[in-house]
């Protein structure tokens, strides 16, 4: 007699155990072929199982995916990634000091957002998720603005309505981050469909964690993108962990996330997400394809969430503390830095000077940001502004409620003045 048995996935290592990434097959840099941008999804299926890598173990750029970027561009990239990391560290500290309520670092994943934003055109529309703050940094959103959002202060772009990190930037063509996860993925496809309806050359790009790829929205996005051949790049950032659930709980034990693409007729490309050059090259390939009416591309970025999920999370309860040190694809910043040093275009001294400069910049930005208020210190937003933007024009019932709150606040103010 045979009986069925439920398979409950287990990560390779839990706290106290030795980190084990043997489940990851990592091919040598330069191995994967770079196909024509209009190749059919089935023709290039192997790109979903292999891994596009450009930087080899000596920090040299090799193989057909080498994007041959100018050293100046790589120095800019290094600056963006380092600034992202310094910004994250400062905001984490400010959360620990109680100045902001919440934060999410992107440590170890900086190459994904930075390389992709640099490879795309400024008019391309970005539909971000958590840990893509690098998009804002590359496109030039000031750190003060990002900090003011986290502070919910008088300069907050969200006017005090959202938790920290839920940024958006209309002028910079970056959509709003949603705490519901995955919702932005099919929205990006709709945006791209509209671009195609209007006959524009702009494309959309969206990001989702491997964990949230289990949501129906992921399936909707890939179905609609394939059906309408929408000009969109759909990125799965596989950082191995969705809070405490390892990537096996999104189906990663059976297939790579990139392999889901060919099932829909969409090319799936798996890339070393900690290799700036590889991410840049793959993104440029997908963007060219989208603009040339080749349709969507699914990219899986293999990376590692070095930080906790958020400031509310303690990863030492579910994964080995030293996992990040054992991560076989290394640190994206270190790898790009060594590459530049190998080219003779960078040095430890310049790196140290840049670190110092960026640290000072972050400090100056924070000093400015808090002058616009914090959650606990003024100046503060007017609470009655909460009734605005629910609708384009405020309906009568909201006007009545706004009046009620206004009266209540006036009474409180009067009582405080008396007392």
């Amino acid at each position: 007699m045979t009986q069925s048995r439920l398979h409950v996935p287990h990560p390779p290592a839990r706290p106290g155990e030795k980190p084990d990434f043997s489940y990851l097959e990592i091919p040598p840099a330069g191995r994967e072929p770079r196909p024509d941008t209009l190749a059919s999804a089935l023709e290039i299926e192997q790109l979903g199982t292999g891994m596009v890598r450009v930087l080899d173990e000596h920090g040299q750029a090799v193989g057909p995916w080498n994007p041959h970027l100018e050293p100046e561009e790589l120095q800019v990239a290094l600056r963006h990634m380092l600034l992202t990391r310094r910004f994250d560290e400062r905001m984490q500290r400010m959360q620990r000091q109680g100045r902001i309520s919440f934060y999410m670092k992107s440590t170890g994943e900086e190459a994904v957002a930075v390389a992709q934003a640099m490879a795309l055109q400024p008019g391309d529309m970005l539909f971000p998720s958590y840990r893509t703050q690098g998009l804002f940094i590359v496109r030039g959103k000031s750190l003060v603005d990002l900090m003011c959002q986290c502070l919910s202060n008088t300069r907050d772009m969200c006017r005090g309505r959202q938790m920290p990190i839920m940024y958006h930037w209309a002028e910079g063509n970056i959509f709003s981050i949603s705490g519901n996860l995955a919702t932005q993925f099919p929205q990006a496809v709709g945006w791209a469909m509209a671009a195609a309806i209007k006959g524009e050359d702009r494309i959309a790009s969206s990001w989702i964690g491997e964990g949230a790829s289990a949501e129906a929205d992921f399936h909707h996005a890939l179905t609609f993108a394939a059906v309408y051949q929408a000009p969109v790049i759909l990125n799965v950032v596989n950082n191995q962990w969705a809070i405490s659930s390892f990537q096996g709980f999104a189906g990663g034990e059976r297939r790579t996330f990139a392999q889901r693409g060919p099932g829909y007729g969409i090319p799936g490309v798996r890339v070393d997400g900690n290799d700036f050059l590889a991410v840049h090259a793959v993104t440029r390939w997908a963007a060219e394809r989208a603009r040339a009416r080749g349709g969507p591309t699914l990219i899986e970025h293999v990376t590692y969430r070095a930080a906790a999920h958020s400031t509310s999370d303690d990863p030492s309860r579910y994964r080995p503390k030293e996992e990040w040190q054992s991560w076989p694809l290394g640190d994206p910043i270190t790898r790009l830095k060594e590459h530049l040093i190998g080219l003779g275009e960078w040095s430890e001294e310049r790196h140290a000077a840049l670190e110092k400069e960026l640290e000072a910049h972050v400090t100056a930005c924070w000093k400015e940001a808090v002058t616009y208020g914090t959650l606990s210190e003024g100046p503060t937003l007017d609470p009655v502004s909460m009734f605005e933007d629910v609708f384009h024009d405020m309906p009568a019932h909201l006007k009545r409620q706004r009046e009620a709150l206004r009266r209540l606040l006036a009474e409180q103010h009067a009582a405080a003045a008396e007392g």
Binding site: Q187, F224, D389
Partner: protein, 338 residues
């Protein structure tokens, strides 16, 4: 003026808007080539092309998500959800995304999406083709919720919905697509050509969202209702001979509290009728609003006549449906109350 049923009036509204505004796109399941399972989009793809009127995969969540993305990219999407019963896979996209996009971005992003969806029973549709989920959406901040009761209103309100800067969920009571229905399924069907609201202008006109309409003036009691039940209520009033004022609410959000409460304060009595289930239904909001504004004028407790609090049962449709007899009993009840 032309004679139109509600399907033709909706088709005409879409036709007018597709013709006037190049940003308008119409899509949904079976909407394009075939023209919709209820024929509301018949002929539109032929006229405007498949980039403006298109079929979609069977994925309501994807349809609404795509509509949001299109709206953000400057289009005015009109998405059809084939039956209101099928809208739930799109719930997260509607509630968490569409309704709150303007708010969460402090006005920097918005998506002027209209979601059209046939609702209501009386068509032997059982629990998956008969629901009236309007109350689920009236509870969501940031959505406008509309339900017309006749062809003239359907066209004017749909045009207003498409022109509105905010997202609108537009419910179409499918039992009255082809004619007004008085609640008696055994009578022969009556076409819209017999009804004054079957006269519909060919061109553009708008009925403002947020305005109720008094469809029958009366002195003794105010009957608040919308959709199919407007016609059932008229039959019940005839049955009783009570001089009721019937108000078609038309727009649930924003709600025309002034028109409703002015009437109730004058008549001193109020009966609320809807097809949807009772508990936490939209009638509860109507009842509370009336009570807050009209308490000192009320001569009797406010009565509600609704679907029973069960799923919509296939075999017992006419025992479930709040027909004229139940409405008549409620009218008599509030008139007798001291």
């Amino acid at each position: 003026m032309a004679q139109m049923n509600m399907v033709q009036a909706i088709n005409s509204a879409l036709d007018v808007m597709l013709g006037r505004d190049p940003r308008v796109v119409v899509f949904g399941e079976d909407v394009g080539y075939f023209g919709g399972v209820f024929r509301c989009t018949d002929g539109l793809q032929r006229k405007y092309g498949e980039h403006r009127v298109l079929d979609t995969p069977i994925a309501e969540g994807g349809i609404v998500a795509a509509a949001i993305g299109m709206g953000v990219n400057g289009l005015r999407p009109v998405a059809e959800i084939q039956f209101a019963d099928y809208i739930y896979p799109a719930f997260d996209q509607i509630v968490s995304e569409l309704a709150r996009l303007r708010y969460r971005t402090a006005g920097d992003f918005s998506a002027p999406v209209t979601i059209r969806t046939p609702c209501g029973g009386g068509i032997r549709g059982g629990q998956t083709h008969s629901q009236s989920p309007e109350g689920v959406f009236t509870h969501v901040c940031g959505l406008k919720v509309v339900m017309p009761s006749n062809p003239y209103d359907a066209k004017g309100l749909l045009i207003s919905s498409i022109e509105d800067e905010d997202p609108v969920v537009f419910f179409e009571p499918k039992r009255i697509y082809n004619g007004p229905f008085d609640g008696d399924p055994h009578k022969p069907a009556v076409p819209w050509s017999t009804h004054p609201k079957g006269e519909v202008p060919e061109g553009h006109y708008a009925i403002p969202i947020g305005k109720a309409e008094i469809v029958r003036a009366g002195q003794d009691v105010t009957l608040l209702t919308y959709g199919t039940m407007v016609h059932v209520a008229e039959a019940a009033v005839q049955l009783t001979g009570i001089d009721a004022e019937i108000i078609d609410v038309r727009t649930m959000v924003p709600l025309d509290v002034d028109t409703l409460c002015t009437s109730v304060c004058r008549t001193g009595r109020c009966v609320i009728v809807h097809e949807a289930t009772r508990f936490s239904g939209f009638g509860a909001e109507l009842s509370a609003s009336v009570q807050e504004e009209c308490f000192w004028h009320l001569e009797a407790p406010i009565a509600r006549v609704t679907g029973w609090d069960t799923p919509y049962p296939h075999a017992f449709e006419w025992d479930y449906f709040p027909g004229p007899a139940r409405i008549a009993a409620a009218l008599r009840g509030v008139m007798e109350a001291r």
